[in-house]
Symmetry: none
Subunit: 232 residues, 2 copies
DNA sequence: GCCGATTCTCAGCCAGTTCTCAGGTGACTC
DNA sequence: GAGTCACCTGAGAACTGGCTGAGAATCGGC
């Protein structure tokens, strides 16, 4: 968590997406640079030598694969996360899943992107061996097993519930607005309203049983996961 | 698992294949170096003295057999795994299966390659005496005999089922995505869709009988083999 | 070359999941 | 203490992902 800042290059021609992703990653503690075309991306890789590249496949000039190929040809094995449209991903699978690379189909949630980046950085740093766990009070989230425990009882969560809890745990002791949660946990093109966060918090609390009040409602703001001694 | 790192040299002129194999082996804990031509390979063997060579037969300059012959002539008996195209392999089969060597016809699965490498390294290290086994809960996989037992009952598996179970057991307690499984257990040029993983999990569960629920479905993610006491 | 085993595709079914909505409840304001 | 507002939660509709049986295609052993 306190390693030297990781530099990420984000490449996509949709400006709003670049903005969103960039600010989320900056917030997560990464140093971010962005470009909107293939050629600019290549130039940026050469000049700033990033630790990871988030690369859209559909770019106006050179496509993402070609950009990646050229990066590799220059002898850089920086990991790349490709962003692709939902359809057609299957055909591409074998082509670009290699060298520590990964891909994400649009639309994705920022939580998902953050998870992939973390996983890749862990792999690159070579600490793939030990389990990656997150604990707050009696709550424990095992990210490798995708399991959650409360006082050693396993709690079965749906994917969305899991992402929500993960986000809350990452920000334990900090109040998060419903909008913030919506932006992070849901796919970025989600059209509905923030009320759905309430519904999912309700689901979570029900499943947490006695641990339900670990999720504190911050009236007029949003929610917060209580740290055991945050009361002080 | 904690022996001094094994150095592997991967030689193939197809860049994407080299990338894929290299990263898979690195992930499996090997130290990997790669070359794309016969001469470069010979030079690399001399300079880095690898513990094992994965060698494509069809190279642009010198062919794989010749490379192997020259390595031997220099007095090195480093084991070699040849990669060959599917056709024509038959004639060669008897020819080069000797001296700790092995071969694999393209396309192969990464799981298969990993199994061969493991087997050879075991042979070379001389611990052929004791059986090489993998156990998770009441499941036991005997890699030498290629047999699987659940509570001492032998379970008869097809080759693909075996590779799948082996991969799951290697990663017990960790959720694996269907894509990850597909990439590792199936041949790398498999064109079909990830749904086939579901089918094979279904086969496995049927054969496992009472042990069926050791394979947990992680909805939205993939599958995981349950460890008996994952809480530790 | 035949036959059984194996691999793979496909489609229907079902359970779990996502999301919307609306009535209820509790908290804060004046 | 009445009104208002934010939040909670149950019900249910629509959808999705995963399971499995059936069958076609292929492989491999004899």
């Amino acid at each position: 968590m306190t390693e030297p800042t990781t530099q990420i290059l984000v490449v996509d021609d949709e400006e709003s997406l670049v903005d969103m992703v960039s600010s989320a990653l900056r917030f997560a503690g990464y140093e971010v640079r962005s470009e909107q075309s293939g050629f600019d991306a290549l130039r940026a890789v050469k000049s700033s030598d990033p630790d990871l590249v988030v690369l859209d496949v559909n770019l106006p000039d050179v496509d993402g694969f070609e950009v990646c190929r050229r990066i590799r040809r220059d002898g850089r094995d920086v990991p790349v996360i490709f962003l692709t449209a939902r359809d057609g991903a299957d055909d591409l699978r074998t082509g670009f899943r290699r060298g520590g690379d990964d891909y994400l189909t649009k639309p994705f949630s920022l939580e998902e992107l953050a998870l992939r980046i973390e996983a890749i950085m862990r792999r690159v740093r070579g600490d793939g061996g030990d389990h990656h766990r997150l604990a707050v009070g009696d709550l424990m989230l095992d990210d490798d097993a995708h399991q959650v425990f409360y006082e050693d009882d396993e709690i079965d969560l749906s994917p969305t519930e899991y992402r929500l809890l993960h986000y809350l745990m990452l920000n334990a002791g900090r109040a998060l607005s419903k909008m913030q949660i919506l932006d992070y946990v849901w796919e970025y093109d989600f059209g509905g309203d923030a009320g759905i966060v309430e519904t999912y918090v309700s689901y979570l609390r029900k499943k947490l049983g006695r641990g339900a009040d670990m999720i504190k409602t911050v009236r007029g703001v949003g929610y917060m996961l209580r740290r055991p001694e945050a009361a002080a």
